[in-house]
């Protein structure tokens, strides 16, 4: 045994740790690995840098440096000696801001819109914040109580002193949110029903579900909106002829539920057969099996897809523009075409403002969906 100790090449203490080579550590190493790892990569990096140098400074100049920040009307935004090439016209957004949010909703009643937006935001947070308490109550609030209350709040209830505000006066972000909210509130329950019907054992039920879903998914939303706005009034007795906004809402809700049905169907398919069999073995009726065992699991798995459908729905609300409803985008168009503000830069400013609004809403939802997805992936790995 002592022989081993005499062997000179056996190392008894670990070697001293050397620092990583200077060119693979720190900022320099990062640059080398990510931007300049090969000649081709260097060329790509240079092209990208040139692209950024070409694209970004003009944008900053237009929206910040050359932008006009104060003024009462469009004349402030026209080219002048101080601003030979005027940039974004921010007074345009400030002057029209309340129009962009409320449309022609009477000024004295706008607190009702604010209250509605707050109640909606509250319901959305409660329902979709996964660790919020009593999310079952949140569902009742969001899908039953909120729509009913909002109708009286926004449209009016003379018997408690809320004056009626006809929907022709509604506009802007209010209408965008109303259309999106109605789409969400109706598309999820209807979509679940349609998805269940499509998987039903009853051939007639299945047939109608398949026909409806495939029909709606096969045509553009614009034609559905046209159908709702010009054909719906024909199909009901004259005294029932629905209001223009209601017609568009019907179109959007039906359209969204067909897409939601397919998303829910995907979730239903992901529930293992054993779950159904176990529920049957426990003696649950079909309804209780669906309500207590299948749906909770299916909706959980497919929650990211549901949110992605909501993103699509939110973007699609802009199409009500085409059937003459003053949603947010339409109010921008109307304000842009106002003769007092006729300048090329007001249009770009309005579009940029709208883009920021839609981007924040949609990007927020997609981040949420991604988080839920990551959470589900962690849960299933465990």
């Amino acid at each position: 045994m002592t022989v081993v100790h005499e062997l000179s090449y056996v190392r008894e203490t670990p070697a001293q740790r050397l620092p990583a080579p200077a060119d693979s550590a720190g900022a320099f190493g990062w640059l080398r690995a990510n931007l300049f790892s090969s000649p081709g990569n260097v060329v790509l990096t240079v092209i990208c840098a040139l692209f950024i140098a070409w694209a970004v400074p003009p944008l900053i100049r237009f929206f910040l440096v050359d932008a006009i920040w104060s003024g009462a009307d469009g004349r402030a935004c026209a080219a002048s000696t101080a601003y030979p090439e005027p940039g974004a016209c921010w007074p345009f957004v400030r002057a029209w801001f309340s129009y962009f949010v409320y449309g022609f909703y009477p000024a004295g009643e706008r607190w009702r819109v604010d209250l509605f937006l707050l109640a909606f935001a509250f319901g959305l947070t409660w329902l979709f914040w996964l660790s919020a308490p009593r999310r079952d109550l949140a569902a009742w609030y969001f899908f039953v109580l909120l729509p009913a209350l909002s109708f009286f709040l926004l449209h009016g209830a003379p018997w408690i002193g809320l004056a009626v505000v006809p929907t022709t006066l509604w506009g802007g972000i209010l209408v965008t949110i109303v259309v999106a909210a109605i789409g969400m509130v109706f598309s999820l329950p209807l979509g679940i029903l349609l998805a269940l019907a499509r998987r039903s054992a009853m051939p007639v039920v299945r047939l109608f579900a398949v026909l409806f879903i495939e029909f709606v998914r096969g045509v553009p939303l614009i034609t559905v909106l046209f159908m709702a706005s010009v054909m719906l009034p024909l199909f009901v007795p004259e005294y029932l002829a629905p209001d223009k906004l209601v017609r568009a809402l019907v179109g959007v809700a039906l359209f969204a539920s067909a897409y939601m049905a397919e998303v829910v169907r995907g979730g239903l398919a992901a529930v293992p057969r054993g779950q159904y069999e176990a529920a049957r073995a426990l003696g649950l009726t079909h309804g209780r099996m669906i309500w207590l065992i299948v749906l909770p699991q299916a909706l959980r798995v497919t929650l990211p897809n549901i949110v992605n459908t909501f993103i699509g729905l939110f973007k699609d609300t802009t199409l009500v523009f085409v059937v003459g409803i003053f949603d947010f985008l339409r109010t921008i168009e109307a304000a842009r075409n106002d003769p007092n503000w006729a300048a090329p830069n007001t249009g770009v400013t309005g579009y940029a403002f709208a883009a920021v609004f839609y981007f924040i809403c949609c990007y927020g939802m997609s981040r949420y969906a991604r988080n839920v997805e990551a959470r589900l992936a962690r849960a299933s790995r465990r």
């Binding site: 990096t45 096969g218 553009p220 614009i222 046209f226 009034p233 985008l329 839609y358 949609c362």
Partner: protein, 393 residues
């Protein structure tokens, strides 16, 4: 199981079946009743408004102008039916060009997003996030009103290299005029393509039999490019361009590309490309790295690995969602109505509906067209999926 329990089970089974039949009959009655009520109401409402019914209007003279017509059309003599075909062709034109461009851009961006170059991957990612989270209609209005409509007017047109003009009325390019002899060139290029395919088949068969590779690149280039070029020269260069000329108030001659058309193609391309990029990225990521490692271990070079191992597996994942993006693009082309490009919806559901008032027929025809396109595409898609499905042995 005892007899008694057996019969109880039977009774439960029978009652559930009866219940099912009752539900279905009730649903049939409900939907039938709704449909009947709708038809009765529609008949009454239409009669009250003195609107004709049926498809008789198809033959009537349209009497309105269309700004872009691919087939001959005149307001005074063409029928509504002709207007329908004009609109449909315009829709298909925008969709075809949009699909080609969006596929190209989408594949580029999708691959750029997977690049090891940090800057390139970030730019591609920013593009995808920005474009996907802003409504298409807003982008369309931006391209049309803020970009194309704010171009200089006719007198200050921007000259495009090669004899074209760009102004707020549109893009004017030299229009290719094909002499009859040009058919020789077309025939030559078709022959070249067919010959190249045959050559590839033969080369592959030879490689499978003997293991020897045959040169295919140069012969292919010669067949696909050289043959038509030779035919072009031999036929006496049967292609001329009619160059647009600047008039006082407008540009005459040449090929006119409407700003509405350009805006729609731009918006659809940019928007759909962002979605296609995500499809491509997911497809490439779905091929596990073990596949390319195994291919390298077998001695395949990177290009061959990509062509023979990665791409075929990625395409199986990419193609189905890619098709649904194509369908979305076709359906989204109906946004044309917002900027006045004469597509099917704008011509038919817009103008024809307003003139005739026959909402039911017009909307039904328009929907039927989109439905037919969708069903046809899903049919082709299913055939493709079946042909590329993994064969289990």
């Amino acid at each position: 199981m005892t007899d008694e329990a057996h019969s109880v089970g039977h009774a439960a089974h029978r009652s559930r079946r009866l219940g099912g039949i009752a539900v279905q009959v009730a649903l049939l009655l409900l939907i039938g009743g709704l449909a009947y009520g709708a038809i009765v109401n529609a008949a009454q409402n239409l009669a009250r408004a003195h609107v004709a019914t049926g498809f008789g209007f198809w033959q009537n003279t349209a009497g309105f102008d269309i700004s872009q017509t691919l087939i001959s059309y005149s307001a005074s003599s063409s029928s509504f039916g002709r207007a329908f075909w004009v609109g449909l062709l315009n829709t298909l034109l925008v969709a075809a060009i949009g699909i080609v461009l969006a596929t190209g851009l989408g594949f580029l961006v999708g691959i750029a997003r997977l690049s090891h170059n940090w800057l390139l991957a970030r730019i591609a990612g920013g593009y995808v996030e920005l474009i996907r989270n802003v409504p298409l209609l807003l982008q369309l209005l931006f391209w049309y009103n803020a970009v194309l409509k704010s171009l200089p007017d006719v007198r200050e047109s921007i000259a495009v290299p090669g004899g074209g003009f760009l102004n707020s009325r549109g893009l004017f390019l030299p229009r290719p005029e094909l002499a009859p002899a040009f058919t020789a060139v077309i025939a030559a290029s078709l022959t070249g393509i067919v010959a190249a395919i045959v050559l590839h088949r033969l080369a592959r068969r030879r490689q499978e039999r003997t293991g020897e590779e045959s040169p295919v690149l140069w012969p292919t280039l010669g067949l696909v490019c050289g043959l038509p070029l030779a035919a072009y020269v031999l036929a006496g260069q049967p292609l001329t361009f009619s160059v647009p000329e600047m008039g006082r108030f407008n540009v005459r001659g040449g090929l006119e590309i409407l700003p509405e058309f350009a805006a729609l193609v731009l918006a659809l391309t940019v928007y759909t490309a962002a979605f296609i990029a995500e499809v491509v990225r997911a497809g490439v990521l779905s091929v596990s790295s073990g596949q390319s490692e195994a291919a390298h271990a077998l001695g395949l070079r990177s290009a061959a690995t990509l062509r023979l191992v990665v791409v075929p597996q990625a395409m199986r994942v990419i193609v189905p969602p890619l098709t649904s993006q194509y369908l979305n693009l076709i359906k989204n082309s109906s946004l044309a109505v917002a900027i006045g490009y004469p597509d099917l919806v704008q011509v038919f559901t817009g103008t024809v509906l307003n003139i005739t008032g026959q909402a039911v027929e017009v909307v039904a025809i328009t929907m039927a067209v989109y439905l037919a396109i969708s069903l046809l595409t899903s049919l082709l898609m299913n055939l493709y999926a079946r042909s590329t499905a993994i064969v289990e042995r």
